[in-house]
């Protein structure tokens, strides 16, 4: 493929980065590996001993595994919604961020469902879902939605990477295995006008498909809770509430990832303050929307003050139980990002990233607060002498598996950045197609003008 000099230079830079790992890179990779090994150990313990090693018991049957599940599916929104919408709207500044966003989507959609599996008592019977699956169950909806979503987002990422894969195929790597893989993955793409036309069309279709699909996935997830007769869950706004919270956290993770890769690969000239500012403003708007949903949800259940709803609210607003967590998740995690991004004086790359970290942490806590307090407040009184059946505390096993998930997310992200440029190198209008279209357009305009000129001159003659 013939690249323009700017892209060629960029490809050169990324290709050299892809074949080596810097010292800090090795350091962080080692730490992440330790966490992953820890998680692996915890997994074995849980499989051997049973779920007794977790903090889950008969009342709180779902713990931080489900919180992690919602969290990871939530951050997958970065690629699906942000990148999908920006693509469809043809937003100019999207180019350096969409690849990162799409990778977040794929990796988190891979890791998220693993937590559902960890929550299952009988992993050995997973095939029962296929053998005996019942369409009435929201879990089956969830399985279908997430599978479709995962495939969809992989296709989306792949389509958006084909141009770069073709460029990498033609790049002279020292080790030939890379070129072999890129050759297979590039499926003969050469940037011909026809190929470009098809690819652009497919990308448009995929980004249009991925948006409703993403909304559906998180809605189904919310319905798993919303369909039950539980205070704090049985709410009609749960689906849109989950969707908004998901995009909010997805944008936060996207900002954090941009910051890290910008630092690590020295991409200051590509990922600039503009990107952080624009994403920050999106984050701010979503934060406001999320705050509105939170307010609406808790105001209505508090004002109606049904006994069961109140029991959950008492837990959330009791300083001895969850109030400080709720304060962090619903107030600090929203107000702080809004203030910092709203006031231009506070707004810079580091501060936007810092508030994104806070927002993402707050959103994880919020997922915890959605699940645990409700399960700790069943409709019948909790008359159980065993303290662990009344109050849920995550065990070391659950924490190990949680951190392993985060570490795995980082490692997969890192490995991907060693396989593909983390920013799209080859522009969509590169190759021949767009130029061709421009020249064709110019020609048509010229011909029309000529035609009219001739006609007019003929008219003049007639006169």
């Amino acid at each position: 493929m013939n690249l323009n000099p700017k892209s060629a230079k960029m490809l050169d830079y990324f290709a050299s980065q892809m074949v080596k790992v810097s010292k800090p890179g090795i350091f962080w990779l080692a730490i992440a590996t330790v966490f992953i090994i820890g998680g692996f150990y915890a997994l074995i313990v849980q499989i051997v001993e049973g779920h007794i090693v977790t903090g889950m018991r008969d009342n709180v049957v779902w713990g931080i595994f489900i919180a992690n599940f919602i969290f990871f599916i939530g951050i997958s929104y970065a690629g699906a919604l942000i990148s999908g919408i920006l693509h469809l709207l043809r937003v100019e500044w999207r180019t350096p961020i969409i690849r990162i966003a799409e990778i977040i989507t794929v990796i988190s959609t891979l890791i998220g469902p693993a937590y559902i599996l960890l929550c299952m008592g009988r992993l050995d019977r997973l095939h029962h879902l296929a053998l005996f699956g019942r369409i009435q169950s929201p879990i089956i909806w969830d399985v279908m939605a997430i599978t479709t979503y995962l495939i969809g987002s992989i296709i989306f990422l792949y389509l958006a990477s084909i141009r770069d894969l073709a460029a990498l195929r033609d790049y002279p790597f020292k080790s030939k295995w890379r070129n072999k893989i890129y050759t297979i993955l590039a499926i003969g793409f050469n940037g011909t006008p026809k190929q470009n036309r098809y690819l652009d069309r497919s990308l448009d279709i995929m980004s249009a498909i991925i948006i409703p699909l993403a909304i559906l996935v998180h809605s189904v997830l919310a319905w798993i809770f919303g369909m039950t007769l539980r205070p704090g869950w049985h709410s009609t706004i749960f689906a849109p509430y989950f969707v908004v919270a998901a995009v909010f956290s997805g944008t936060g993770v996207l900002i954090i990832a941009l910051w890290i890769f910008r630092k690590y690969y020295k991409l200051e000239s590509y990922i600039t303050k503009i990107h952080f500012n624009y994403l920050g403003i999106i984050l701010m708007i979503l934060g406001a929307l999320y705050a509105y949903f939170t307010f609406s949800e808790y105001l209505t259940s508090w004002y109606g003050s049904e006994t069961w709803e109140m029991e959950v609210l008492y837990k959330l607003f009791n300083p001895n139980e969850y109030w400080w967590w709720f304060f962090f998740a619903a107030i600090i995690g929203v107000v702080l990002p809004i203030i910092v991004i709203l006031i231009p004086k506070f707004r810079n790359i580091n501060s936007i990233t810092a508030v994104s970290v806070i927002a993402v942490l707050a959103l994880w806590v919020k997922r915890y607060l959605i699940i645990i307090p409700t399960l700790e407040a069943p409709l019948l009184p909790l008359q159980d002498m065993r303290p662990e059946y009344i109050h849920y505390t995550p065990t070391i096993i659950e924490w190990l598996l949680t951190f392993a998930g985060v570490a795995l997310f980082c490692v997969l992200f890192f490995l991907f950045s060693k396989f593909m440029p983390i920013l799209p190198v080859v522009k969509a209008d590169e190759g021949n197609y767009a130029e061709l279209r421009k020249t064709v357009l110019k020609r048509i305009v010229k011909e029309k003008m000529k035609e009219t000129e001739i006609k007019e001159s003929e008219k003049m003659k007639d006169l």
Partner: protein, 310 residues
């Protein structure tokens, strides 16, 4: 009142209802098996579908298979009536149930709650089995059909199919379900053939709950919580025959519910339970009697955790 008229002996009740059911379900198979009987073994009389009385070995009455256990006993609609005016938290229903279902002391399929509707009203003891709802939220959400509703009204769990997702446990508004968090202890039930009708042996990572003891019903007996209760709190029977019994007394179900203002617990949830409660009026015992067999710590705990229902 007319209650006396309806009183029947337990034997009569059983002899009326059970053999027909047994015959209808397992008759043919059991007849085939009965050829192998030896003289010493205990016999059970059964009525075959074509109206003949046969004797079969008691040991040949294996629990029904998981596939068979999905069908339900024809002509039955099982109901339970719990008379709150008689309960003093003797907890015999709990321990009998645990013995019957091979449960450790901490797992309770029937629980006894101390309830108080408001701060002005008197507390009362509230035994709560699974309600075997006609609109069961747990069955609705099960992704694999491991928990199911039968034609005779029972909601059972097939723990050979259960994947342990616990969705049913969050869906059940009555906290009726219990999870096997660890490998169950080895007991003499362990080599039993599994049936959803006996709910034993238990399997790690699956859900269990009160099953209304269909294996006992098939043998012509009442569920163990019913027969185990010293105060006759719990009545059990077939709604289609309009009769319920606690082992010593029997009542017309419709009259009992009508005369004693029977009600559904949390009827507003729309689950249509098959367990009815008779309000705690004209009580046989003061509720504090229920503290007798508890430790001071437990009493303290109960008093603290008592929660208003509405």
């Amino acid at each position: 009142m007319e209650k006396g008229k309806n009183k029947q002996s337990r034997r009569k009740f059983i002899s009326k209802t059970v053999p027909a059911a047994l015959g209808a379900i397992g008759g043919v198979g059991l007849v085939a098996q009965s050829c192998n009987t030896t003289e010493e073994e205990e016999k059970v009389s059964l009525l075959t579908p074509d109206g003949q009385l046969v004797e079969v070995n008691k040991s040949s009455m294996q629990p029904v298979s998981p596939a068979e256990a999905r069908k339900g006993i024809p002509g039955k609609q099982f109901v339970m009536v719990i008379d709150l005016s008689r309960c003093k938290n003797a907890r015999k229903c709990v321990t009998k149930c645990q013995k019957m279902h091979d449960l450790p002391p901490e797992d309770e399929w029937i629980k006894v709650f101390l309830m108080q509707d408001s701060s002005d009203t008197a507390p009362y003891w509230f035994p709560k089995p699974c309600f075997h709802c006609n609109q069961p939220p747990c069955v609705k959400v099960c992704p694999v059909g491991a928990t199911y509703k039968r034609t005779d009204g029972l909601v059972l769990v097939d723990n050979e199919r259960c994947i342990g997702c616990k969705f049913c446990m969050t869906a059940c508004p009555y906290s009726s379900r219990v999870f096997q968090w660890k490998e169950p202890k080895e007991t003499n039930f362990a080599d039993r053939e599994y049936s959803p009708e006996t709910s034993t042996p238990h399997k790690v990572g699956t859900v269990g709950k009160c099953d209304f003891c269909p294996d006992m019903i098939r043998q012509g007996k009442l569920p163990d919580c019913v027969s185990g209760c010293p105060n006759g709190v719990i009545f059990f029977g077939n709604k289609k025959e309009d009769i319920v019994s606690n082992g010593t007394e029997s009542f017309r179900f419709s009259e009992l519910i009508h005369d004693r203002a029977g009600y559904h617990f949390m009827a507003e949830l729309g689950t249509e339970p098959n367990v009815y409660y008779l309000p705690p009026v004209d009580r046989l015992f003061d509720y504090e009697k229920g503290f007798n067999n508890l430790t001071d710590e437990q009493v303290e705990f109960y008093k603290k955790s008592i929660v208003k229902k509405h």
